[in-house]
């Protein structure tokens, strides 16, 4: 009898240890980035778990020596614009796909899903030509335009699943009162879809904020760079001389707002990520 209880206790302890290990594995790298960003000089190369003299020098240097403020502004402008455009186009398309039965709907949905799986490299040369032709090369417009390739299919897809869940009675009542489909969408459904729009918008925002390949290829000068490119291109004379303190400071600056957003909207994000994937 007591042997069984002992075994249960050991199992419990092992389980707690496993949880602690997972938590450590998940959180430590970001913690280490914060610690490094607060170190300076030779302290950088030590392994003490918290700097003896925490200093803000790296944070100041990031804004003083580089146009990092401008880079952040660029990222905010690009991500906000592309989310706004995607939500407008996505909401109308989702209404048609989610609420109206017409021939070719399944094919269209499958095509939209296929586009979201496109490897970005596969459209790189064609997009590059188009962007130069439109006169958008090395401008934020090129990124707002090209990011639609992944934000728009994603937005359409998620909003369609949310649109399907809207009660049919609401729509029928409005139609009885003579409402056109446009009125049904803008006056009846959209006001109710606030949470869905927020979730979808947030996920699309994060995707646009994190994008690297297009931003690296379609912009050229430092003042047009977005945050991921700016962080990737911080360089020193050699690998040993890379300004790691500053790189980590920049990393922490752009990640903290994202983490706060994600923690605040935790439930919604999980719901948005799993919409469709689990329910089918």
């Amino acid at each position: 009898m007591s042997a069984r209880r002992l075994r249960r206790h050991i199992g419990r302890v092992l389980f707690v240890l496993l949880m602690l290990l997972i938590a450590f594995y998940t959180v430590f790298p970001f913690y280490w980035a914060i610690v490094t960003s607060l170190k300076s000089g030779s302290a950088l190369f030590g392994a003490e778990p918290w700097p003896a003299h925490p200093a803000w020098g790296n944070y100041v240097a990031v804004f003083r020596d580089r146009p990092f403020g401008r880079n952040i502004l660029n990222s905010v402008i690009v991500a906000t614009s592309v989310v706004a455009v995607s939500l407008c186009l996505g909401a109308t398309a989702a209404f048609a796909l989610g609420r109206v039965a017409f021939r070719g709907r399944g094919v269209l949905l499958a095509a939209i899903l296929a586009v979201s799986m496109f490897p970005q490299v596969a459209v790189l040369s064609g997009l590059f030509e188009l962007i130069r032709w439109l006169g958008l090369y090395n401008s934020l417009g090129s990124l707002v335009f090209s990011y639609l390739i992944f934000t728009l299919p994603f937005t359409v897809w998620v909003l369609t699943t949310f649109m399907r869940e809207m009660p049919r009675e609401l729509e029928e009542a409005a139609v009885m009162d003579g409402a056109t489909p446009w009125v049904v969408l803008t006056r009846v459904f959209l006001p109710l879809m606030g949470p869905a729009l927020a979730t979808t918008g947030l996920l699309a925002f994060i995707a646009a904020w994190n994008e690297f390949l297009f931003a690296l290829t379609f912009t050229l000068t430092d003042d047009m760079r977005t945050v991921p490119v700016a962080i990737a291109l911080i360089s020193g004379a050699s690998s040993f001389e890379l300004p790691w303190g500053r790189i980590m400071a920049a990393s922490v600056i752009v990640t903290v707002p994202l983490i706060l957003l994600v923690l605040v909207f935790q439930r919604r994000i999980v719901a948005g990520l799993t919409a469709g994937a689990v329910k089918g």
């Binding site: 399944g106 490897p119 996920l203 904020w209 994000i269 994937a277 089918g280």
Partner: protein, 302 residues
């Protein structure tokens, strides 16, 4: 009355097309047209540094591509990367999701912590790990030395034998949370009754997992695996930031972009990009058949 209703339905259908039009035009413009142009370029000798109209060269770019050992090296790197990282993520994600599914204190906090790696931009996670894996002063080497597991520091990102595995490790850290959350969502939809029945039948915890839980969450698991595999096959950021254009880790995307942008060879680079597109299309078809999943059940979030 019925004539009135069908007129209404007809009007609805017409309105639906108008509603769809802007999004469809946008997708055609931003994805369809560039893809068609890329395929066209792959059949020409177009160069970025040349203004003369490109000449049609047939399949010669593809013949060059097939003979280029660097391309096959990139294909091998990408496939190894995709298989290794998706396998690790799925197993680790299953373990963590099963653990998080147990009722216990601190579960909410741990689930919140899982979102941190997912929210961090890939470039940032590559830089953070690049610093932790630094060959001389990185914290990983310092820890391994202190524990006596290695005799001298390892050059994680520079050693050709280690670099690809370092990239896999970073990807596993970054994307396991996505797997975990999807699997956890599927687990939480399972009704408690099936486990009560299993208790009566005397299935142990292992039997319970393989006979009940796994078959029930299989559809969701397959969707997550397919989505992650397709994502892993087009990987670019991680390799580019951690190891640059190094041949030891170069993925197909890195190879194609190098040809296009650095060597300015639009024709040949487009052939490589089209090759990547075909490989991903093939992988999609294979996975969908093997997984017996409806396409409509998949959905993405990066």
């Amino acid at each position: 009355m019925s004539a009135g209703l069908s007129a209404l339905a007809l009007e609805r259908r017409r309105a639906a097309w108008w509603f769809l039009l802007p999004a469809v035009v946008a997708v055609l413009l931003v994805a369809g047209w560039p893809l068609a142009r890329t395929i066209w370029f792959s059949l020409t000798d177009a160069r970025l540094d040349e203004t003369a109209a490109p000449a049609f060269v047939g399949l010669s770019n593809y013949l060059l591509l097939i003979e280029d050992p660097d391309w096959w090296n990139a294909v091998r790197n990408t496939v190894v990367f995709a298989v290794a990282s998706v396998t690790c993520e799925t197993l680790l994600g299953l373990v963590i999701a099963l653990a998080l599914n147990e009722r216990m204190r601190g579960r909410g906090m741990l689930r919140a912590a899982m979102l941190i790696p997912w929210a961090i931009p890939t470039v940032v996670s590559a830089q953070i790990w690049g610093w932790m894996l630094h060959d001389q002063v990185g914290v990983v080497n310092q820890a391994l030395l202190a524990l006596g597991l290695v005799e001298r520091p390892l050059a994680w990102t520079a050693d050709p034998d280690l670099a690809l595995w370092a990239v896999v490790a970073v990807d596993v850290w970054k994307t396991t949370p996505f797997m975990t959350l999807l699997i956890l969502a599927a687990l939480q939809l399972l009704p408690d009754e099936i486990y009560e029945a299993a208790d009566i039948d005397g299935l142990g915890p292992v039997g319970r997992f393989f006979r009940l839980t796994l078959p029930l969450i299989r559809p969701a698991l397959m969707v997550a695996v397919i989505f992650r595999t397709l994502d892993a096959l087009r990987v670019f950021d991680l390799m580019y930031v951690l190891t640059g254009n190094s041949a030891a880790t170069a993925s197909m995307s890195v190879y194609a972009r190098q040809q296009l942008v650095e060597f300015q060879d639009i024709g040949f680079g487009s052939a490589a990009a089209t090759g990547l597109f075909l490989i991903i299309a093939l992988a999609t078809a294979l996975l969908l058949t093997a997984g017996r999943v409806r396409l409509g059940a998949a959905e993405g979030g990066r």
